[in-house]
Symmetry: C2
Amino acid sequence: MRATDLLTIGEIARRSGFAESAVRYYEGLGLLSAGRTAGGQRRFERSTLRRLAFIRAARNVGLSLNEVAEALSSLPAGRTPTRADWSRLSRGWRQRLDDQIEALTALRDGLDSCIGCGCLSLQRCAISNPADTARSGGPGAVYLPPGLRRDDSRLASPASR
Amino acid sequence: MRATDLLTIGEIARRSGFAESAVRYYEGLGLLSAGRTAGGQRRFERSTLRRLAFIRAARNVGLSLNEVAEALSSLPAGRTPTRADWSRLSRGWRQRLDDQIEALTALRDGLDSCIGCGCLSLQRCAISNPADTARSGGPGAVYLPPGLRRDDSRLASPASR
DNA sequence: CTGGTAGTTGAAGTCAACTTGAAGTCAAGG
DNA sequence: CCTTGACTTCAAGTTGACTTCAACTACCAG
């Protein structure tokens, strides 16, 4: 691998669309790896661009950087990932998007039925109470998947560090 | 209005599903108002519950607390809001949800065409480059509305305070 | 009157995903 | 050799939406 195949952080940033600071941050997290020149400057392999494309794609789908790291860690070590590798990683995303779409659609449909009444009842309104948290026994759709919920789901995970 | 009509923060929290700290926080932001006992404890009117239902609903739709505050400030001062008032406020949400759904659907459809190829090209792939940021001249759908974008939109709003 | 539960405040902490700043070093053209 | 722009590190700051903490005080049943 010739030195001319290696890219500086500036080139990587420009060509990936990420800020240099983000690229350094990702390297710090272990999402990317880079060689160094004698002077200590980063030199990235060309395949880093695809890796960054994967990261942006995953972020667009709604994955956290932790999830991205987990996905990336399942790539084969030692060899450059193939298209099939990338394809495999992104295969699960469809379901994720489907879930998000379904949740939003249900929310919208509930909204349609609520707009006329303006009730916003904590007990009955699908919009203000999508997961039906107030009375978990009765009928009523569970609208939002965890990723879209804005209610007390946060209360269940209190400073786990 | 009798004193028995007033609710403590504990009751409000329990009945709305919000944490007490959140209720205090909202009051601090001006999203809620509360009277005080002689000893300084908050007493909420019953209508606060509906206000909180509105807040949760708005958060579910994706509004920030700033947007919620703006919406609430358009309620009539002096009188208790009617159903029509609440209905008016939530009417604009449908478009917002439609936009979100459309964006996710486009993303999913792009994903479907990408899963087979695993390309994730920064230039061409709809998933990693949904807003077509890399070459703004050419054809290519703008997939994500601002609220769903995970790319460099953040770079455009640098510490405005 | 006393005890216990519920409430008060303000400041500080949390989380994710970065960005910004300071102070300094490297690389390359002239 | 000098300058200039690109690069380095590490710590600290940012944003939004809260939560947590400490040190008190209020309310109310018995």
